[in-house]
C-alpha cells in the first residue's frame, strides 16, 4: 500500500514539474512580461504588436476592482511585472513599499504624455517616480434628454423626487460617497465624522429613489432607456453616447473626481526591463491611439490625441475636458486602514437600510 502512495506522490510531483516546465517553454525569445490590467482595458491587437516587435512574450491577466488586485499582488502567487491600478491604490502601494522606481531612461516615449497629467499624479505619487499615466477621466452624470425636464448641471438632481425609480447609482463605496460629499460641498477624501455622517444620511435618503446600484450595467441600462439619469465614468459615457445620441454627459458644478489609472512596476518584478519596454510601447502615440479607440477611456497621451481623425472626438469636452474650467476637482487618496474601514461600514449601513 505504501508503494502505491509513493507512486501517486511521484506522479503528482512529476506532473507539477511538467507544468512548470511548460511555463518555461512559453518564454518568448526575449523573455516574458506578466501584465495585470483592468478588464477590457487594452486593445488585444496592441499586445500582439508588442510581442511581434520586441519578441517578448506577454502573459496578460485582468482584474475587476483595485481591491481584488491588491491582495492578489501582495500574496505573490503570481509575480507581476506591470500593473495598472488607480490613483489611491498606487498611493497605498507606495506607502506599503511595494513599488519599484521606474527608470525613465528606458521609457523615451514618456515625452508623449502631457505634463499636466504628471502634475495631477502628484496627488498620489508626489515625486512622479513610480507611475506613468495610462488613462484618466472624470465621473459625472449621464442623462437621457428625452426623459428629463431641463438640462442638468448638479448632483442635486440625484435627490429629485420626480426621478423616482429612474436613477442609477454607482455600486462602490468611494464613488457613491464622492457624490454625496461633493453635493454637500465637502472633500471626497474627508475623514471628518460629521461630514461623513451627513453624506451617509443623504445616501440613505436617496435610496428609495434609486432604481439600482450597478457598476458596468449603467452603460447598457442607459443605452436602452431603462433609466433617465446615471452616475458614470467619462470613458463609458463616450461609448454610450455613440450608441444612443439622446444621452448627454455633464460634469456637475459642485466638482467631481478626476481619476488616473497608471502603469506601475512592483518591487518584486522579475522582468523589470521588459516591463519598462512594455510601458514604453504603450506610450507610443499610435499604440495609445488604437487603445483609446478600443476602450474609449481618455488617454493622457497628447501626441495620440493630436492623431485622432474624428474632429468631434479630438475636441470632445467629455474625452478631453479643460479641467481648469471646473472647480473642486479632486483625486481619490488612500485613507489608511481605519479610514477605509470607516467608509466601508458607513456604506454597509446605506446598503442594508
Amino acid at each position: 500500500m505504501k508503494k502505491l502512495y509513493c507512486l501517486i506522490f511521484i506522479l503528482c510531483s512529476s506532473l507539477s514539474f511538467l507544468l512548470t516546465g511548460c511555463g518555461n517553454s512559453a518564454f518568448g525569445e526575449n523573455g516574458q512580461v506578466i501584465v495585470y490590467n483592468w478588464g477590457e482595458y487594452i486593445d488585444p491587437m496592441a499586445i500582439d504588436m508588442f510581442e511581434e516587435e520586441t519578441g517578448i512574450k506577454v502573459i496578460y491577466e485582468e482584474f475587476e476592482t483595485n481591491e481584488i488586485m491588491y491582495p492578489k499582488m501582495v500574496s505573490g502567487s503570481t509575480v507581476y511585472d506591470v500593473i495598472c491600478p488607480s490613483d489611491y491604490m498606487i498611493q497605498k502601494m507606495i506607502e506599503n513599499d511595494l513599488l519599484a522606481e521606474i527608470n525613465f531612461d528606458h521609457i523615451p516615449n514618456v515625452v508623449n504624455i502631457g505634463t499636466q497629467y504628471f502634475e495631477q499624479s502628484k496627488e498620489f505619487d508626489p515625486e512622479n517616480k513610480y507611475s506613468i499615466p495610462y488613462c484618466f477621466g472624470t465621473v459625472g452624470i449621464l442623462y437621457n434628454k428625452t426623459m428629463v425636464k431641463e438640462p442638468i448641471d448638479s448632483w442635486a438632481v440625484l435627490w429629485d423626487e420626480t426621478y423616482y425609480d429612474n436613477i442609477l447609482m454607482q455600486d462602490s463605496v468611494r464613488d457613491a460617497f464622492m457624490v454625496a460629499l461633493k453635493l454637500n460641498g465637502y472633500s471626497m477624501n474627508t475623514l471628518n465624522q460629521t461630514e461623513l455622517e451627513t453624506a451617509k444620511n443623504a445616501l440613505i435618503q436617496q435610496k428609495k429613489l434609486v432604481q439600482a446600484y450597478v457598476i458596468d450595467q449603467v452603460r447598457d441600462k442607459m443605452i436602452s432607456g431603462e433609466a433617465a439619469i446615471g452616475v458614470i465614468y467619462s470613458g463609458e459615457a463616450i461609448y454610450t453616447i455613440r450608441e444612443n445620441p439622446d444621452l448627454v454627459y455633464v460634469i456637475p458644478k459642485e466638482g467631481t473626481n478626476v481619476w488616473i489609472d497608471s502603469w506601475v512596476i512592483p518591487k518584486n518584478a522579475v522582468n523589470k526591463e521588459n516591463a519598462e519596454a512594455f510601458i514604453n510601447f504603450m506610450c507610443r502615440p499610435d499604440i495609445a491611439l488604437i487603445n483609446f479607440e478600443y476602450i474609449t477611456y481618455s488617454t493622457p497621451n497628447t501626441a495620440a490625441q493630436a492623431l485622432i481623425e474624428d474632429n468631434d472626438i479630438r475636441t470632445s469636452p467629455i474625452a478631453f475636458p479643460d479641467l481648469s474650467l471646473y472647480k473642486n476637482l479632486e483625486t481619490f487618496q488612500y485613507l489608511g486602514v481605519e479610514g477605509t474601514e470607516l467608509y466601508n461600514n458607513l456604506w454597509k449601513e446605506v446598503k442594508v437600510y
Binding site: M1, L4, P71, S172, V337, T340, N344, V352
Partner: protein
C-alpha cells in the same frame, strides 16, 4: 486496506485539495484578526444590526422560495409519477401518456442546459422596465409589471433556478412507493384525500426534506440572484460576504461571516439527516 478504499484515493486527494484545505483557510481567516491573533470578533460580527438584518432577509426570502418550490414541485412530481405508475400497473397505459410525460420532462430539463448566470441575466432582460414582458403588456394596453429590483424578483429568481432541486428528490421518493400499497389503501376504503395524507405524504417525507435542504441552502447563500434581480438594493448575507472580499478587502470578516452561514447549513443538514435516516430521500 481493501480495494474500495484504494478506489477512493483519487476522490480523497481531490477533496483534500479543493474542500478540506480551502475550508481550513476559511476557518483560519475567520478566527484571526489582521495581526494573526485568535479572535471571535469576525464571527460575532453577525450580531451587528446591519449583518443581522441581511441574515434575516436572506432567511426570509429563502424560506418563502423554498415553500413556493415545494408547492410547485410536488404536483409536478406527481404528474410525472402518475404516468409511470399507470404504465407499471397496466391502468390507462397508452403511448400518448408516455409522450406527454416526456414533453413535460423536456420542458423542465431544457433550461437547465443553459448556464445559471445566463438564465438569471435573461430574467433581468425580461423583467426590466423596458424589458420584453413590459413591452408585451404595453402593447396589450395592460398595466406594467414592476417587480424588478424588489424582493419579489429575487424570490422569482430563486424559485426558477432551484426548482429542479426540489422536483427530483420528491419524484425519486414518489416513484419508490409500491403501487400495491396505494391499491391496498383504496381496497380498505380510503378516499383520495386519505390515501394522500396517510400513505403518499408520509412515504415521501424524506424526499421533501432533502428537497427543502437542496433548495434552502443555495437560496440562503446566493449573492448573484440578489445582485442581478435586486438591483443591489437588497443586501443578502451572501452579498455582504462577497463585498467583504471584493470591495472592502477584509478577508477576516468575510470568512467569519461565512463560518456563521456554514453553521446554518450544517444545522439544516443535521435536520434532514434525522428525517432521512435510511437514505430514502436524497440522491440526484
Amino acid at each position: 486496506m481493501n480495494k474500495k478504499k484504494l478506489l477512493g484515493t483519487p476522490y480523497f486527494i481531490w477533496s483534500t485539495l479543493f474542500i478540506l484545505i480551502p475550508l481550513g483557510i476559511v476557518f483560519y481567516y475567520g478566527l484571526t484578526d489582521e495581526s494573526g491573533a485568535f479572535t471571535l470578533n469576525n464571527v460575532m460580527a453577525i450580531s451587528s444590526p446591519g449583518h443581522a438584518k441581511s441574515l434575516w432577509i436572506s432567511l426570509g426570502l429563502s424560506l418563502v422560495s423554498t415553500l413556493i418550490c415545494l408547492f410547485l414541485a410536488y404536483p409536478l412530481a406527481m404528474i410525472l409519477c402518475s404516468g409511470d405508475h399507470s404504465l407499471q400497473t397496466g391502468f390507462l397505459s397508452s403511448k400518448s401518456n408516455a409522450a406527454h410525460k416526456n414533453i413535460i420532462v423536456l420542458i423542465f430539463i431544457l433550461p437547465m442546459w443553459m448556464n445559471f448566470l445566463l438564465r438569471t441575466l435573461a430574467w433581468q432582460t425580461l423583467l426590466e422596465k423596458t424589458g420584453v414582458i413590459n413591452n408585451i403588456l404595453a402593447f396589450l394596453h395592460l398595466p406594467a409589471l414592476k417587480i424588478i429590483n424588489t424582493p419579489y424578483a429575487i424570490i422569482l429568481g430563486m424559485v426558477y433556478n432551484f426548482l429542479p432541486f426540489m422536483v427530483l428528490p420528491v419524484y425519486n421518493s414518489l416513484i419508490k412507493i409500491d403501487p400495491n400499497v396505494i391499491h391496498a389503501a383504496r381496497d380498505l376504503g380510503a378516499n383520495e384525500f386519505q390515501v394522500f395524507t396517510k400513505i403518499t405524504l408520509p412515504l415521501t417525507t424524506p424526499g421533501i426534506i432533502s428537497g427543502i435542504t437542496m433548495v434552502f441552502i443555495p437560496a440562503l447563500t446566493t449573492f448573484l440572484i440578489s445582485k442581478l434581480l435586486g438591483g443591489g438594493k437588497i443586501l443578502l448575507i451572501g452579498n455582504v460576504i462577497e463585498e467583504e472580499f471584493t470591495q472592502a478587502s477584509n478577508w477576516h470578516l468575510g470568512s467569519g461571516l461565512s463560518i456563521v452561514l456554514m453553521m446554518f447549513i450544517i444545522f439544516n443538514m443535521v435536520v434532514s439527516a434525522v428525517f432521512d435516516k435510511d437514505g430514502k430521500g436524497g440522491t440526484l
